[in-house]
Assembly symmetry: C2
Homo-oligomer: 365 residues x 2
């Protein structure tokens, strides 16, 4: 999977001189964006660029493509820089947009109730997470300690990953943003691993939702692929039953991103965002329907991307039916939950466009 | 209630020249803090000062007191400046620390279950809110539109306030912060109104908790009273049953702040934070127990401060038993929920120390 001219994902990198620069990636090199716009990229982050809006995004992308094609600019080898989180996360919201994941999780967490609450097909259900613990790929994930039940405070015994797609907001908004206007505000996508301590989550979650079972770490790929690179991976929404009227999505906001999850090099899941019930345009429309503004740097997670097949489940909770079964690794190991030292790598692609990876290794708590 | 030398709450204000300055309030005047430390207050916000830690807080407070006592510095009349939000909200977390509120709300939202979930007395239950919609006192609160049930998308018909105390984090942390170390990190308190659309909240809340029913606005008083001013308002915790071991609080972290809620000048509630089951030190210890860092500007809400008496209920949900009864205003009006034009003012004090007010008027949606 190549990082070609039609891709050019964005990140910040730290060079050997310790300086931070905003770049796009081309093959195994990066192009420093500072010469393309000394104002937008002055601080080495993507923040000003993200907030500058769709025309600026198109201008910079065009200039980056021209610069690389012209071949008269020195590219920097990726091996000499370290990609870091390119933007300041404003609010982090995690949705729950896969009907397969929501149904499976509902059956596990609420065995005596309906798997899906009545709201699930009406609006995209979501919650606010902890922006301060969003970390870049490669950051070790320390096994969190937590309240596992009424009498046990201990390192989690049910550490899980969740394979998600993240959406990065660029242009801020005031007032409600309609589904049709979402592309004015959403800059691009990253890969996201919403690490979860299932025992902590189970004990804490009523009535106010997930909290410390999630807030210890959320890993994202440093490379943000602009929506502009995903034109061939956009499809109409196919949503039954129809959502609330103001959320009807007649655009091409369903993305075809294929995700692969590996634990210690064993592929445990292949799923696709084409199976998501809700689109990112509906996330934006719902989130702002009460008048809440979007801010540059808002990060919207899709929720676990699971499909209908056994091999397309995006977290161990579903794969092992909450620890009742095991999964086998190629090295002979078996898992119900993640063990210390395990490394989870989520990769993503859309045809020839690669989204890179988000990677994290579990460290002892 | 005077703003005396033993009080000196902090805010940012915008002057007639349009410039933003960090100040403390003394009586009906403000003292510009810039001359006291040109580095910490260079940008007119409290951010650098909050992050500078407890010794810096004590130093600046001492110098402000000396400067005012010396009387040789011109104070600026409050009438010539406009107080604004003095700090950038990092993550906003709302707790649920009043057993009276949690019990009343539990009976209303879950009539067929236990009012309190098994977690409630073990850990302080809370959730992450939307930092981007925390606004300063006086900002109009536009009635939010939302999904009121499966088929109705309309302006909320059940708009409510919640009288809370907010805690502002100064010193950031890495790793777990124990109960005994909370005062190293928490700078001070503000008044907080966690506006709520109860119909939206009810429909959306399962299984991931409150979301758009809260995220349209959270109002805070601009004046942050430092914990250093509240030495006489600190009491030992009295907590039965005992919490999880790591949350045992043997310090003086229970605050005696008296809150008064007025709607259109009618007092609807007088409650006290002495009635809260959980302390702010326990909030901090719980929030960081999974390893999540605190950031400068993290805002922790207490949850609705309700007492055991009918006149001490901190929101209309409780006062009207979810709209089944009405409350009477002095002007002859009756309310189940807030109407357009209604103004809610929450004031707070601890003996001679006033916390000022948080004020918001409902505008039509």
């Amino acid at each position: 999977m190549a990082y070609g001219l039609d891709n050019l994902p964005y990140a910040s990198v730290v060079g050997t001189d310790g300086r931070r620069r905003a770049v796009v990636r081309f093959g195994d090199d990066v192009l420093d964006l500072t010469p393309l716009d000394s104002t937008l990229f002055a601080d080495g982050t993507l923040d000003a660029f993200l907030g500058a809006g769709r025309q600026a995004w198109a201008d910079v992308r065009g200039r980056a493509q021209e610069t690389i094609e012209a071949g008269d600019t020195a590219l920097t080898p990726l091996t000499t820089v370290r990609p870091v989180l390119g933007f300041a996360v404003a609010d982090y919201v995690d949705f729950y947009a896969s009907i397969h994941h929501a149904t499976n999780a509902g059956r596990i967490f609420r065995p005596h109730g309906d798997a899906l609450a009545p709201n699930w097909t009406v609006v995209p259900v979501g919650y606010h997470g902890r922006a301060g613990t969003v970390v870049a790929s490669g950051t070790p994930v320390v096994r969190p300690t937590g309240q596992l039940d009424a009498t046990t405070f201990a390192p989690t015994r049910a550490l899980d990953f969740e394979a998600e797609l993240g959406f990065v907001v660029g242009t801020p908004s005031t007032g409600a943003v309609g589904v049709a206007d979402a592309d004015e505000h959403v800059f691009g996508v990253c890969l996201l691993d919403d690490w979860s301590a299932r025992d902590v989550q189970r004990f804490e979650t009523q009535p106010l939702g997930p909290f410390l079972g999630k807030s210890f770490a959320t890993s994202v790929s440093p490379w943000i692929t602009p929506l502009a690179a995903l034109q061939d991976a956009r499809f109409p929404s196919v949503q039954t039953p129809a959502p609330a009227d103001h959320l009807l999505d007649t655009g091409r906001h369903r993305l075809g991103i294929e995700l692969t999850v590996r634990v210690n090099d064993t592929v445990l899941c292949r799923s696709s965002t084409t199976d998501l019930h809700w689109t990112y345009a509906q996330f934006v429309a719902h989130l702002t329907s009460n008048g809440a503004p979007l801010r540059t740097g808002d990060l919207l997670g899709s929720g676990t991307v699971s499909g209908p097949e056994p091999g397309s489940l995006g977290c161990l909770l579903e794969m092992t039916r909450n620890g009742a079964e095991t999964v086998s690794l190629d090295d002979g190991g078996v898992r119900t939950w993640l063990e210390d030292g395990d490394e989870v790598v989520i990769t993503g692609s859309a045809g020839p466009i690669t989204l890179g990876e988000v990677r994290g290794r579990v460290a002892a708590g």
